[in-house]
C-alpha cells in the first residue's frame, strides 16, 4: 500500500503573532517552527501505525515550502516515513499548494492521501477537499478513526453530536483530527535514520493563485476583565443577561 502524507510547517502554538511590512507579512523573527500538529499527531502517526502492521506499506511525505521547511521534514522522517518530497514554493494560497501536491500524487500511485484537518496558522481546511476535486477521488474529512482492509477503508468522521462510519473503496483522500492517533516522540534511532532518508526537491508547477492576502490585522485588545465577587452571583447573572445579553 502507498500512502502520501501531507506535512505543513507552522509556527509553534505559543508563538507571538505579529506582522511586518505594513502588516502584509507574518513576522517570522524569533518564531519556532513545528510540523502542523494535525499533520504530525494524527495523519502521520496513523500512517506509521498502518505501516507497523503491514511493513510492505510505503509512506511518502510531501511538503510545499522553501528550504526553511527542511528541518521539520527531517523531524517528520524521524517519526516515520520512507522518503520525502519538497516542492520548492513559498505560496500560502491553498489552491496553488493543492495543485503542487496533486501533480506529485499523479506521478505515484497512492492508495491513501492524508492531510491534517487544517493548519494552525491559516485554518483554511482546504487542501484535502481541493485534492479531491483535482484528482477526482473520494474524500472524507474530519476523520477520527481509520481502518484499512485490502482495498477498502473504513473511516469514521465527525458529525454534529456524534460520528458516522463510511466505507470507501481506495484510493481516497482523508483529513485527520483528534482521535485518529496519539502524538509520538521521535526516538534516537528514528532521528539518526532520518538523516539519510531521501528528501527530493522539485520545482513547482506554474499556477496562478486565486486569492491574495492584502493585509493582516489583530483583534482589538480586550478592555479588561470585569471581576465579580464570589458572593455576588446574582450580579453576574444580571450582567450576563442585561449587559452581555447571552442568557
Amino acid at each position: 500500500m502507498n500512502i502520501l502524507v501531507c506535512i505543513s510547517k507552522t509556527p509553534d502554538t505559543t508563538a507571538k503573532i505579529a506582522f511586518t511590512e505594513g502588516n502584509t507579512k507574518f513576522d517570522e523573527n524569533g518564531v519556532q517552527w513545528i510540523i502542523n500538529p494535525y499533520d504530525e499527531w494524527y495523519s502521520l502517526v496513523r500512517a506509521i501505525e498502518i505501516k507497523e502492521k503491514d511493513p510492505t506499506t510505503n509512506i511518502h511525505l510531501i511538503t510545499v515550502g522553501g528550504p526553511e521547511a527542511e528541518p521539520i521534514i527531517r523531524k517528520a522522517l524521524a517519526l516515520g516515513g520512507d522518503e520525502a518530497i519538497r516542492v520548492n514554493s513559498n505560496s500560502n494560497d491553498s489552491y496553488v499548494i493543492a495543485q503542487q501536491i496533486a501533480a506529485i500524487a499523479k506521478q505515484g500511485s497512492y492508495d491513501l492521501i492524508m492531510t491534517g484537518k487544517e493548519t494552525i496558522d491559516y485554518n483554511s481546511a482546504c487542501i484535502g477537499s481541493m485534492l479531491s476535486a483535482i484528482l477526482d477521488l473520494p474524500y472524507v474529512s474530519l476523520a477520527n478513526h481509520l481502518e484499512v482492509n485490502g482495498n477498502t477503508a473504513s473511516v469514521q468522521r465527525e458529525i454534529e453530536g456524534g460520528e458516522e462510519t463510511n466505507e470507501v473503496i481506495l484510493p481516497m483522500i482523508i483529513s485527520c483530527q483528534k482521535g485518529m492517533a496519539e502524538q509520538r516522540i521521535p526516538n534516537m534511532r528514528g532521528i539518526m535514520a532520518a538523516r539519510t532518508k531521501p528528501l527530493k526537491v522539485v520545482e513547482p508547477l506554474a499556477t496562478n493563485a486565486h486569492t491574495s492576502i492584502k493585509e493582516f490585522s489583530l483583534p482589538p485588545s480586550k478592555t479588561g476583565v470585569k471581576l465579580i465577587a464570589p458572593d455576588q452571583m446574582d450580579e453576574l447573572v444580571k450582567l450576563l443577561k442585561e449587559e452581555a445579553k447571552v442568557i
Binding site: Y95, N123, L142, G161, T165, S212, P219, K222, D234, V237
Partner: protein, 320 residues
C-alpha cells in the same frame, strides 16, 4: 446571483445554514442581485419560510439518496448547479460538511475561496473577505481575484437577519453521480447538546481536581441549557470524554457564552475558544492567564462559586 448551500441532517436544516442564508442575502444586497438557496435531498422544514432569511428561491434536487452526505458527489452536484444557475458567489457555512465540500466546489468553478470568513465582503477595492487566522489570534484580509467566488462563513459570526420575502421552491433535475462512500453506521450521542452547535458552553479544567467533582459543572450546564467541554489535561486523563476537549488540537468553538471553571488559560486552550462572544472565568488563582482573555471573572473556589452561580441562574429562570 448569490447561491447558498443548505446543509441538513436527519431532514432538518442546520442552524449554521440559516446563518449562511442570511449572510448570502446580505452579500446579494451589496451586489444588487438575488440570493437563492440550493438544497440537495429532502427536509421536513417549510422551505417557503426561507424567504424570511432572504432567499428568494430554493432550488431543490429532491432525491432522498442525497440525504447521505458524500463529499465527492455533493461537491460535483453543487458545482454543476452553480454553473447552470449562473451563480457568481457561492456561500457555505464553514461547518463540518462545508469544510468537506466548499474548497472542491471552488476548484471545479475555478473560483477563489475564503474559508472561515467572519464578516461581509469589502467591495471598495475588488472583493475582499476577512477571515480569522492563527487560530483566532488575528485576521487576514483576502482578495478574491476570480470572477466567481466561494465563501465559507464561520458559525455564529453573522446574525440571522429578517427579510419579509417569500420563497419559491424550484425543482431541479441533475444526473446523480455514483456514490463514493457508503454510510455503514451513525452514532449520535442522544440527549446532549452537540458542542459545535451550542450557544452556551460550560467547561472544566484541572482545577476541579477529579472526575468525581464534575457534578457541580453538570448542574450548572443543566441550569443554563449549556453543552459541556473540558481542557486538554482533563481529556488526556480520561476524566471526560475526548470529544469535549476544546483547544488548539481538539475542537474549536465559537459560542455566545463560554464559562471556564478551573482552567488556567494556556494559549493552546485559548486557541479553541477565543472566538466566543463572552468568556466568564472562574478560578481560584487571580494570576491565571485566562483572566486576561475574559470578559467577566470570579476569583474564588469553584466548589463554592459554581453552585452559587447555578442557584442564581435557576432563580433568574424561575422569575422569568
Amino acid at each position: 446571483m448569490v447561491l447558498i448551500y443548505i446543509d441538513h441532517s436527519e431532514k432538518e436544516i442546520k442552524k449554521s445554514s440559516h446563518e449562511a442564508i442570511s449572510y448570502g442575502a446580505a452579500i446579494a444586497k451589496q451586489l444588487g442581485c438575488s440570493a437563492e438557496a440550493l438544497l440537495l435531498g429532502t427536509v421536513n422544514d417549510d422551505l417557503t419560510a426561507l424567504g424570511k432569511l432572504g432567499a428568494s428561491k430554493v432550488h431543490q434536487l429532491n432525491n432522498e439518496s442525497l440525504n447521505n452526505f458524500d463529499a465527492k458527489v455533493h461537491a460535483s452536484l453543487i458545482a454543476t448547479a452553480a454553473t447552470n444557475l449562473n451563480a457568481e458567489v457561492i456561500v457555505f457555512a464553514h461547518n463540518i460538511n462545508g469544510k468537506a465540500i466548499a474548497p472542491a466546489v471552488a476548484v471545479k468553478l475555478d473560483a477563489g475561496i475564503v474559508t472561515g470568513a467572519c464578516s461581509l465582503p469589502d467591495l471598495q477595492n475588488g472583493f475582499e473577505v476577512t477571515k480569522t487566522v492563527f487560530s483566532g489570534k488575528a485576521f487576514a484580509h483576502i482578495k478574491i481575484e476570480t470572477p466567481k467566488k466561494v465563501i465559507a462563513i464561520n458559525q455564529n459570526s453573522f446574525g440571522i437577519q429578517n427579510f419579509e420575502a417569500s420563497t419559491t421552491v424550484v425543482e431541479m433535475t441533475l444526473p446523480i453521480p455514483a456514490a463514493s462512500v457508503k454510510v455503514t453506521n451513525v452514532n449520535k450521542i442522544i440527549g446532549e447538546i452537540p458542542l459545535t452547535e451550542a450557544n452556551l458552553v460550560v467547561s472544566g479544567g484541572r482545577g476541579l481536581k477529579g472526575p468525581e467533582n464534575w457534578g457541580i459543572l453538570l448542574d450548572l450546564a443543566k441550569a443554563l441549557g449549556a453543552a459541556t467541554a473540558c481542557s486538554r489535561p482533563v481529556s488526556d486523563s480520561d476524566w471526560r470524554p475526548h470529544h469535549e476537549h476544546v483547544g488548539q488540537t481538539g475542537i474549536q468553538i465559537a459560542p455566545n457564552l463560554y464559562i471556564a471553571i478551573g482552567i488556567s488559560g494556556a494559549i493552546q486552550h485559548l486557541a479553541g475558544v477565543n472566538r466566543s462572544k463572552t468568556i466568564v472565568v472562574i478560578n481560584k488563582d487571580p494570576e491565571a492567564p485566562f483572566f486576561k482573555a475574559a470578559d467577566y471573572g470570579v476569583v474564588g473556589d469553584a466548589f463554592e462559586v459554581v453552585p452559587a452561580l447555578t442557584a442564581a441562574i435557576s432563580k433568574m429562570k424561575h422569575n422569568e
